[in-house]
Amino acid sequence: MNRSESWQVFRVLKRSRRQKKMLLYRKSFHTLYDPVVFLYAGVMAVILFFISLDWLKDFTPFFQTLEKRALMYLPFLPLAVWVRACMAAFKDSSLPFTSSELHLSLLPHSRRDILFYLYREKAGKTLLLAAVLLSSAGCLTPLSSAFILLFLIVYGVSLLFEVWIQWRLYSTPWYIKLVLAAAGGMVITAGYTAGSFLGLVIGTLVWAAAASSACFYYYEPSWGRIAERNDAKVWNLWLVNQVTNVAVKPPRRFTAAVQRRRSSWFYPKRLYDRIWLSHGKESYNYLISSLTAGVLIIVVVPLQVDWMIFLTVPLAAFIFVEVSTSIFHNFFKQPTVFRFIPVEDEQLALTYVKWMNPLLVIYGCAVMVIQGMLGFSLVSSCIQALAIACWTGYDLKGSVLEEMKKVNEESFYPASWNRLAGYVFTAAVMVYPPSVLLLIVFFLTRGGFRLNIRRKRTL
């Protein structure tokens, strides 16, 4: 078997992987992805591009000084890139060596060749990306092409080493990575403070020698672990599994004990984001009209009768919380595909709260505006806006979690009195800003309340 055969096989594998991934993504997301969104995004991108082009013209002198300074710091670049590799090696093996590559290396293909192909591909991709980004920066900004070229060469060469270093370091114990990263950082700071070019170069060389000897000495990849990690990364497992109900990887075992750390899996959260974005799109009108109503209540009424602000602000907050909760509740009445996915309830609810929270900024702004119109001082209106935003966010979280329990038909103590108290305190803050202290004390004690309640329930 010659090398080119292995290369052919490798390419076939990669092509099939791409095809299957496309297939899976199409299957999973056609319910959510809308070509119109892409169209809008494209148009927006073009507009933004022209705007930024115009805007960049104002920065010509800045770029000229930037060029000079960047030239000064260029000797730092390789070491900085490698220190980045040390940090990245904690989480990522850089070469996407999956169980399929492992399997391939059991057939008559050498593992070295496969690693080399992976390296070539990865390095090529990152280099290409860097080249495209830098050359477009060169076209858009008045940076000189000689500078761009020099930068690209230095950065490119460091990148070539970075991929290799990261791959090697991934299998070393954590303290090696840490020590190397710290040493690199120290050399950089020393070079920076001493301002000595020669010292920096020598430091970099010494560091590189230490790093490569560490890489050689400790190179003992645990292939099973690497493959498992990369499988998850390459196949984006959780998400696709859940949405399409297809287990991409048949269960298998290369090593006896492969520990999975569930907590570091961020895929479920991404799924929840998608769920709420799509639901938000459906409830868009409802949401917008209630927000507008709230803002109108906050702004218009006090303009007629100014003391009404004590009532309107908590009222608007209450409306917001109730509307948000009912939108949340509606989700569970609709027959969407996501209803059939096993989700972690609390996470799902919290993700919803996360997406609703930014809307509070609108209320905060409205409060600030009306306060400004009524001639309150800036400090007090800041305190008040912050208080109202915090309270609303807090109440929203509580109500949504309660709603979740209702949906699940769990028993719980509704916190009605607490909520009422909270609104009264918010109103008090509107009357007299220092009573924000009351609200803070209330927050603290209410946390205690909740604990008590939970303890009671478990008994």
Partner: protein, 229 residues
């Protein structure tokens, strides 16, 4: 002698799993590795195919030593693992094609074999399915076909009949005998002693990581009878 294992020892995480194992097989021989659960059969097999590193010892197929040129060595055998090991990105048909490329199998022989085996193992209608859409037994069948495609001197099979239905098991048995008559050496592990007696020419019994007895399969029957008494 086509396969030779001399004085092979293996450790996993500091624990000795195999100790000074010796084993040899001749062309056209079926050798059965037998022993209790955890005796080290699969470990020995994984060591022989280079999936697991060994502490010491020599492993040779024909003239090719595993330590000299692993890639050439790997061209001399195919392997069916305990648990099917398939590529998630390939359909059944693409698996066969990958094996054809990897072992440089002749186009005509390949086409004929694929048709014959897919027919015999009844997976013709699954040829465009990905592994996760196959049942465990079907995956086992795909894996088995893959390993049977190339004309290699040695075939390693770990528990060949696990998960196969009766017909497929029967066919595999016949096919193994056919390939053996063509001069292939087959190393298999199994817990089904009737299969050992029906198929194997020689046996090697492992006990706690070392060879406790070995020889022609007739002596295995004698040994078994003696243990029964």
């Amino acid at each position: 002698m086509v396969l030779r294992v001399e004085n092979c020892s293996v450790e996993i995480g500091g624990n000795p799993i195999l100790q000074h194992v010796n084993l040899q097989a001749w062309p056209g021989e079926i050798l059965a590795l037998v022993g209790h659960n955890g005796a080290g059969k699969s470990t020995l097999m994984k060591t022989m195919i280079g999936m697991r590193g060994k502490l010491s010892g020599l492993i040779k197929i024909q003239q090719e030593s595993m330590d000299d040129h692993l890639k050439n060595y790997k061209r001399l055998f195919s392997y069916i693992p305990e648990e099917p090991l398939l590529f998630s990105e390939l359909t059944t048909r693409q698996h066969f094609d990958l094996y054809r490329r990897s072992y440089s199998i002749d186009e005509d022989i390949f086409a004929a074999r694929v048709d014959r085996y897919m027919d015999a193992f009844e997976i013709t209608d699954k040829k465009d399915d990905y592994p996760e859409a196959l049942s465990k037994g079907m995956r086992q069948k795909v894996q088995t076909i893959c390993a049977l495609l190339p004309d290699v001197p040695v075939l390693f099979i770990d528990e060949p009949f696990m998960g196969l239905d009766v017909y497929a098991g029967q066919y595999l048995e016949e096919e193994l005998i056919r390939r053996k008559e063509q001069g292939m050496t087959i190393i298999l592990t199994t817990h089904q002693l009737d299969k050992v007696k029906a198929l194997a020419d020689t046996y090697v019994m492992l006990k706690n990581g070392s060879v406790s007895s070995s020889g022609p399969v007739e002596s295995f029957e004698r040994l078994e009878r003696r243990e029964h008494k």
